[in-house]
Symmetry: C2
Subunit: 143 residues, 2 copies
Amino acid sequence: MKQKYNLIANELRRQNIRLSHLRKKVLEYLCQNPNHPTVDEIYVKIHKEVPNLSRTTIYNTLHILIKAGLLRLINIEDNETRYDIATQNHGHFKCEECGAIFDFNIDIDSFPIKELTGFKITDKNVYFKGVCPGCLLNIKNDN
Amino acid sequence: MKQKYNLIANELRRQNIRLSHLRKKVLEYLCQNPNHPTVDEIYVKIHKEVPNLSRTTIYNTLHILIKAGLLRLINIEDNETRYDIATQNHGHFKCEECGAIFDFNIDIDSFPIKELTGFKITDKNVYFKGVCPGCLLNIKNDN
DNA sequence: TTTAAAAATTGTAATGATTACAATTTATTA
DNA sequence: TAATAAATTGTAATCATTACAATTTTTAAA
């Protein structure tokens, strides 16, 4: 958590992007909650400590982090955008029962795709959907 | 094109989903334009032939096809939802310069992910982003 | 063929996330 | 301390999608 925060803080400094008080808060939240939060989840939490916080600030900060290559935007459902500070090579599984998102390791680079030779690839995403073991159990028990 | 249309029409019949005049139009469009259209692209085209067409009808039809497992919703950007009638196992590459989406073959099932044992997986998606060869060439020539 | 019920379609209004932007506040530098 | 730049706020606009009641069309039965 703390290591990741420091790594990102350093990278921002290197890119001459100021880490203001509110941006620190957002970055702390993202590092402490790597559970792919929505904008609203971030806003509601920080708003408790900073009552006159604007949603626009959250959007601004997230956009800056994305532009700096330090945050990844996750599009699984078309009506909810989520953010992921863990930028290692991994996929996402979304449970359609409880809504939780699970990370899983997958080395996408190990499949060279010959149809994409000559393409410049800057971003690779894998996401699965289905039902997680916990919800599968609940569904069974309900019957 | 025609084969795919017939396959889907049969499956709809099997599921007791009526293929009305407008639904036929939408399905024809999707089969003839497997280039991952947006709702608006579909609407604008069919609206030319059917002037008093409602957008809601397009949404309804697409939802019905998705529910029947015959259409796939693609979320790459968070502000544009696209639809894909080709349901074979393939990935999508989106060019961030020209916006085009390219299909590529990838056999996702060939990577068993041990972290997801016990999960019920119903949907697997892979998408990449970057710049396509055509746009790479244009960028080079502009300099 | 006529009629009643069911399904499809329309069109308007509501929703809700995101963005635009001008005004204000805060931080930085000379 | 003053001048400048950057960050933040808050309201209004945008835009895709959904909700829903009214209307039209289709289906199936009498």
